[in-house]
Symmetry: C2
Subunit: 374 residues, 2 copies
């Protein structure tokens, strides 16, 4: 039996009609996704802003699939409706949702805590076709409410601030998963490099430090983020444009280098690969525009036995682990709060598009934006 | 105390003076590398021909470092001299030498059966600077004799034909090492793809089959090698230019794909990556010309958690294992024998340069080429 508090017939959000208007989101009302038996509906409390939101509305990732597209996939909210088959959550729970809202649930990958790599394709939290739900195109968290498969909502620990939990569900998880999968849960013997000190990189430094890394080396093009990186937990900082000898002076150093840069072009993959230890891994989680490629010289892979890997978001098991890691270690992502409104959404999009963000925006005050108007 | 049979003051070989004359090797005499205490000298019995030999003399891999360069690094011969510190071999042993002839012997990599990735740089069997030996530029096995660090000579099992042992030491080892390192020694649950059915690929099929692979899938551009591939041990054959849907019909299939193609350009890395299982690895051992690069779309790595790795030759521990695997399983690389002479060397170079080799040339009859003349 479906149980609910007041769920409006239509949801509200800040939506974009086409790529030309990427920074002109407007208040829209839309039909929610049909409630499936395993779904929950949450009333949104906070939504952090991922670089992918900007890539999506500008068309960098491909077409915009509806003319009122609401983005946002780092969402925290209160459960106000649970479908009849939901056992994971109950009304009143505070939960967090990331970039994935559904999957087949039946394949080997879904059944082995690898649902982010579902063999039948994942359903993104927004702009994604949900075949199971009548071909609905999903809507994200810059909205009054969000409805998703309950499996894809993590319980937020009571001692973790809701505004701090939000960016962990996509940005944090995206860096946590490759760190624990490729370097392990105990990093005390490991030297970890983090490339790109933005939203993802800042959380990656915190996570590597919290997992006990012997050394966390922050890579950025300039020195501008040096002080911040040390505060986040880095033990060493390399400004690649200022120290042209950085690769030669760091050969055979890294167990893992995690590329968090939001672009592909201009990243000197060959130099990074040269600094790996034997069997060390260069893992990229960055999702640059679809037309950007990685170019590497095979010789560099041969002479050092180098390994390059990619990683996409993370599993819900890992999301739970990550929220606990932040709660247990009293950690907080570095965020800037912006009350949600048309102006607020325009501002964060404009600033993200020029890289003016230290280190994650979190949209707040959803009650004020929606409840008073609908 | 150095012990020896008759070691000539000068060695003889078929050498190239410059890249323009890549297919005009001439009989040359040259000073051997100074005998170090850990060195052995062998009298060559057979030398197989690696694609790298051709890449080197044509200048594809960089400059030719001496004007009488003798290539060849798949060498079998009889030990006729042992330096005073040699314990691994004795006079009369039949040994095989591959692409590496020395390393520092002291770094962590050298001490952990990873001497092929020596931190201080390896010494190639030919065209390579041997700093320890007075800056000598090394000479290869299209020669009467070869002198190397005894560590880099493997003992040839008595029940393995010397002509079959030769190509195992570079070509065979280059594919054996990544298979056992990335897929393991027991492949009975594994589906292994082999890309490029040339010298390396043919041995890779034999090795994967001998290690018990559940399935060995041979990839080639056309069907021309289908029959051979099945005889070598493949259980399936995919002609990528003829079956344009091959990637779509083989998604989520491979535990490991080993790229043995001798070129970088034209290899559709993105399609191969799409056919990997989650956590599956695409490993490249091909050494294309220095100016060829790999280009991949990061999205493909992210959505499948794909892993790309490189591997360079193998360790001497692995060389011993490989010779034993061939001897124990009564296997033989597919070879074509050519008596060594100026004409013979010209012929194999010309045929290799146009890919006319099924699947490895082995130069033979060294006694006749050298003993009668010097």
């Amino acid at each position: 039996m479906t149980t609910s508090r007041t769920v409006p017939e239509k949801f509200s959000g800040f939506g974009v009609d086409k790529a030309e208007n990427w920074n002109k989101a407007r208040l829209v009302r839309f039909d929610p996704k049909p409630l499936m038996p395993y779904d929950i509906t949450i009333k949104v409390i906070a939504c952090a802003v991922c670089g992918s939101d900007c890539h999506t509305v500008t068309g960098n990732f491909g077409p915009i699939n509806r003319d009122d597209l609401v983005v946002g996939h780092e969402i925290v909210g209160e459960v106000i409706e649970v479908g009849p088959e939901v056992t994971k959550h109950k009304l009143g729970d505070v939960v967090a949702i990331g970039a994935q809202s559904d999957s087949c649930g039946e394949c080997n990958r879904c059944k082995s805590n690898n649902e982010q790599y579902c063999q039948k394709g994942t359903v993104g939290t927004y702009n994604s076709l949900s075949k199971k739900c009548g071909g609905y195109i999903t809507q994200g968290g810059y909205a009054s409410h969000v409805r998703v498969n309950s499996h894809f909502a993590a319980r937020v620990p009571a001692n973790l601030d809701v505004h701090h939990a939000a960016p962990l569900l996509c940005g944090g998880l995206t860096v946590y998963s490759p760190i624990v999968r490729h370097a392990g849960y105990d990093l005390k013997e490991k030297v970890i490099g983090i490339v790109g000190i933005g939203g993802l990189g800042s959380m990656a430094i915190q996570i590597a430090k919290a997992l006990g890394a012997k050394e966390v080396v922050a890579f950025s093009r300039s020195s501008s983020k040096k002080e911040d990186a040390f505060k986040m937990g880095a033990s060493k900082y390399i400004a690649t444009k200022e120290d042209t000898e950085w690769a030669n002076s760091n050969l055979d150093t890294f167990d893992m280098i995690l590329n968090c840069a939001s672009f592909g072009k201009g990243v000197d993959y060959d130099s990074f690969i040269r600094t790996l230890k034997l069997g060390g891994k260069y893992v990229t989680v960055s999702a640059p525009p679809a037309d950007e490629s990685i170019t590497i010289a095979p010789f560099n892979l041969l002479i050092g036995g180098g390994i390059i890997a990619g990683s996409g978001i993370g599993s819900m098991k890992e999301a739970d682990e990550l929220l606990k890691l932040y709660a247990d270690n009293n950690l907080a992502p570095w965020i800037e709060k912006v009350p949600i409104s048309e102006e607020g959404v325009h501002k964060v999009m404009n600033r993200i598009s020029v890289g003016d963000v230290r280190y994650r925006f979190v949209l707040t005050d959803f009650d004020q934006a929606f409840d008073s108007k609908w």
